[in-house]
Symmetry: D2
Subunit: 372 residues, 4 copies
Amino acid sequence: MTLRIGLIGSGYMGRAHAIAFATASAVFDLPDSVELDLLADANAALAATAARSLGFKRSTGDWRDLIDDPAIDIVDITTPNLMHEEMALAAIEAGKHVYCEKPLAPNAAVAKRMTEAAEKAGVKTMVGFNYLKNPVTALAKEIIDSGEIGDVFSFRGAHAEDYMLDANTLVSPWRLDPRSGDGVVADLGSHAVSLARHVIGPIVSVAADCRTIIDERPTTQGTTMKIEVTDEVDALVRFASGARGTIGASWLAAGRKMALGFEVRGTKGSLVVDFERLNELRLYTTDQTVGREGYKLLLAGPAHKDYVDFCPAPGHQLGFNDLKAIEIKDLVEGVVSGENSPAPDFREAYEVQRVIDAMIESSRRDTWTDIA
Amino acid sequence: MTLRIGLIGSGYMGRAHAIAFATASAVFDLPDSVELDLLADANAALAATAARSLGFKRSTGDWRDLIDDPAIDIVDITTPNLMHEEMALAAIEAGKHVYCEKPLAPNAAVAKRMTEAAEKAGVKTMVGFNYLKNPVTALAKEIIDSGEIGDVFSFRGAHAEDYMLDANTLVSPWRLDPRSGDGVVADLGSHAVSLARHVIGPIVSVAADCRTIIDERPTTQGTTMKIEVTDEVDALVRFASGARGTIGASWLAAGRKMALGFEVRGTKGSLVVDFERLNELRLYTTDQTVGREGYKLLLAGPAHKDYVDFCPAPGHQLGFNDLKAIEIKDLVEGVVSGENSPAPDFREAYEVQRVIDAMIESSRRDTWTDIA
Amino acid sequence: MTLRIGLIGSGYMGRAHAIAFATASAVFDLPDSVELDLLADANAALAATAARSLGFKRSTGDWRDLIDDPAIDIVDITTPNLMHEEMALAAIEAGKHVYCEKPLAPNAAVAKRMTEAAEKAGVKTMVGFNYLKNPVTALAKEIIDSGEIGDVFSFRGAHAEDYMLDANTLVSPWRLDPRSGDGVVADLGSHAVSLARHVIGPIVSVAADCRTIIDERPTTQGTTMKIEVTDEVDALVRFASGARGTIGASWLAAGRKMALGFEVRGTKGSLVVDFERLNELRLYTTDQTVGREGYKLLLAGPAHKDYVDFCPAPGHQLGFNDLKAIEIKDLVEGVVSGENSPAPDFREAYEVQRVIDAMIESSRRDTWTDIA
Amino acid sequence: MTLRIGLIGSGYMGRAHAIAFATASAVFDLPDSVELDLLADANAALAATAARSLGFKRSTGDWRDLIDDPAIDIVDITTPNLMHEEMALAAIEAGKHVYCEKPLAPNAAVAKRMTEAAEKAGVKTMVGFNYLKNPVTALAKEIIDSGEIGDVFSFRGAHAEDYMLDANTLVSPWRLDPRSGDGVVADLGSHAVSLARHVIGPIVSVAADCRTIIDERPTTQGTTMKIEVTDEVDALVRFASGARGTIGASWLAAGRKMALGFEVRGTKGSLVVDFERLNELRLYTTDQTVGREGYKLLLAGPAHKDYVDFCPAPGHQLGFNDLKAIEIKDLVEGVVSGENSPAPDFREAYEVQRVIDAMIESSRRDTWTDIA
């Protein structure tokens, strides 16, 4: 069978999805084939150009055409956050599976509506937290779950980049509109939170400190925009498991280009990852011989989940787009199987959003805030 | 227009090529599209299975069918070295372009025959030295060629892995047959030599020391095989430019999984790469402020050749397969343009092989050996 | 002139001080020479042995002998925290200068009494926060103060080791007695706080989360001890300058042996240190050429404060004891000059302690807590 | 008893020795105490100043005074290479023990004369190859000797710095005089060779390539000097054990400040050190669990030779001067014990020099050269 994909949006992430569909088809033995069928963008001309470039058969300037088209099996949403809800709800209503970029929604209330609609309609959903798909993430989770590092008592995660550091770069007003979500908390913080939940479990309480550092920026429209969204956040977190720690995010961290990482400490060891080195995990265990103790640098290889489909040789390295290809594989397998949604689905993204919202509220009130 | 690809071989590299054709088509705006048309393997059943898995439309158990098929534009050879010559010469004679995995041939004499045949026939050729395609390699070359590190006087390169370290692993007799080339000198040494030539230029003299460390191995056929090919080599090298240095290769280097790298020293700076971290280059220049001098760690990003087509964000990292996709892009552009072959072509691979042959001869005679 | 030293305590730190006095005398051109004169320990026999081993001329089993001895100029206290107050107040009353190991006191109230007594008596004081003496710390401070990384808006610091991770190691009851200070917050947290204050400035508010992970330990006396002090802490911090960030400490961080470090972010760059690599600082500035941006790895060298006295060649590295020797140099210079106490003095240690106390209170009450 | 030290020379190394004598006395429980007694330098005034600064009791402008002085037990020579022979032979003749900086002599013939004189006279000797004293070196040797990495078949070592890279720096004519030894081969190459011999064993054959890159330099005397000594060398080496590999040295390696290191490969593992990180060793063994294989980063700690005397806590790091202090400890123990010289003695330094000489000859003749 063939799954027909309808893509809305052809920017950074739209393009990344198109590449990933192609790569996933070549790398994995997918249960169904996928066809890049219909691409929607802001207008017909833009969509037509993008469709040619990204390998879609058809294009449209109206995303509703894609919802209405019975040929489309999966609606793939890569537009700005603010538009996710309307598009996803329409797709769900039309009975289509929905694959949506992160963050799912500007806040938990919206994410909840989207989640409940999807669950009620019985369609499959997936959200693009691609770093969960890194074989190194799977390795970290396996090490934790197997007890190799004992009882885990703390987690320290962060996502830092520097793409908003230049105060003179022109910005699109929508991009920093608080209605889209709270700046870096939503954009990068959601990655860190999703990883924290994935490897440690639910977060039950947070105390966060959100800051706006650059409070005015010039816009692409020649005006000046007052900035109210968060540029940098640090939060204390408490997990349901009893583990504690911190989560941070910054888009002003000079020199950090892809610094999403975490350190997990247990009673018998610890592990550290930093996805600026996407294929590496450092592992320390307390069972080592005296005088020979040290952190071990593991390189991703065929012994780790999903790696071998890309390459049989260890240390040869996957790239950013390869994580997206694994995500596509999981999407297709999830859609084809009779069971649950692929992970992470809308509900998981809603849970992530609840943590994000709690961080924002905690910071506003300068208190610890529980996630009920 | 569409270029039709005929692939011979569906192992590690055959599969990597198939993935790369798919990814390259999605990532780059190729001048012609490519079609994975006909796949040949050792027998019809094997070929049929592989064709399905790798996305080829047709299959055959006889590679000559592929040569004879007028629909095929490019013959892509990923079989063991020993078979390259016969296949390539047949393809050349049939007027097809040839894309062949490295090393091109077991020795320079064979590589020369292949090169001259291709040049006489006027077909385009390319050889799969994929590490030349790394944006980091292009960056290294740009830094050297621009004079940023002054006059380059030395180069130290090596390729070390450990996949042959286990003396008890069963090996296929053909694999370690000296007629296929001299073990690691051919297999990994050729990568190091091709990089050395690419960033520094021609090598004119070598003094090499080749060793066989594990001199007996059990075969997949239940026998024991005496090993005569090289397990590890170190060589002193002299370049036409006057630069000097070393080139090494080992497939017994415990812990090294993809340790292909080099260090280049100039009168105004130096640079270091190690492709176990495929996206990094360390650069030191002598023009730094006192007290603020240091090696700078550059992460591949959109400012570097070919990166931006994969991702607009720096530090997000390409993987091994992405280098192969760049190679495919260069192949297609080279084939489509009226001009020269894409680089590196058969002639370049022949030049690499001459250095390899000189290393082997130098080691046999324990002397410096010139490349005439 | 000669400064006569009276040392109380001959354990880990007593010994480190003795080594440092010797090294400092050889490395630096001290304004006065120092003489290791009288050593006091728990009893006369122990003291006599230690004096011989550490190079002291005389010894005593009663530390009060040392206070009463008019020959002694500087009283050097390296006993457990709980004993600092009594000894320091006696020394101050006797008009002696006091050099005391960190943390100065179990809490800020005690530290305040000690500080005020010293200031009233007009004696010089110094506290052994040796990491402030690292040339790399001076370099970090110089980079920050010069504006090289712009306006600093965040700091993330921590000190993690793993020496308390083994739950079966026998502990001395006094060591984990809450009256000595709150476990790792006092022991390692004080290092992180002192560095934060040194490079960024006063901290005005904290929200901390202190945890006891291993809540029972066997004692050297054959009993089991319930543990109530902190094993691990994470805190949000706000500086008077407006900068914000985090400070953490753990003595259960498997694999971390000397992981005291910090990251400072500014509007024009950032810097990172980790004293498990005592001689390195990573610096990123935004003024770099496109395509050549990267973190620079600076190695301590003669261009940096105090390094050249140890070695004229860069990159040759100072060790832990060398930091202590720089501390001694600053102590002697501070005592000899007519002006202020050497830094950090009791008052600075008191300010550090106030932050520590605020962390503990914040954690107890689960709120932000101001340092008035 | 007390050993009285007579030091000749008070430059970089003279000063390092004085510091090391002080630190060693404080750190180690030496069998005899040492007294910095008499310092000789080029003239009386210089010597007097240096003696005060370095803590010597007496001084002289004529080194022969020191030889003639019956109070002196150990003559410590830190003058330029060219002067070692005369001074050492005089000291030996006077029945004194001799501690001499490396390289011992400008060539093996001289080193042999010095060695034979010392052995005939029955005095103890030691040469300052301080990196042999690094606890990390002892760890590497222990790992190799214990068989933990199996049969060692290759070694790759080098010492690279960049202190001669600036072609405009004024140089002292004697420094680059070929009669002092062949430039970097002698200066840094000797460190790499001594380490190679220490951890692997005797070298029996070499093929070297020595280059002069900067062939003219301005002198401190206002003239221009033609440079004929080696700036950079690479050599193939063969050990008596059957192991092979490379040794290199450069003083033009931009960015390298203390890059003395080596990689050792065996049939069951490998290890890597780089003394720009003096306290680290990376170890890989083949006995690791599948999916958990990786290089382990060992930090020097109390489990390793000589470390604990400096500090009981692991990862706290020794510095360059600490290695010299260990050397002094070995010197004193060697001199006091009735047995052999401390290692490395003159004979060992002579063996190192034979390898250096063979490299130079090999390069001159462009052939492999045996060490008979």
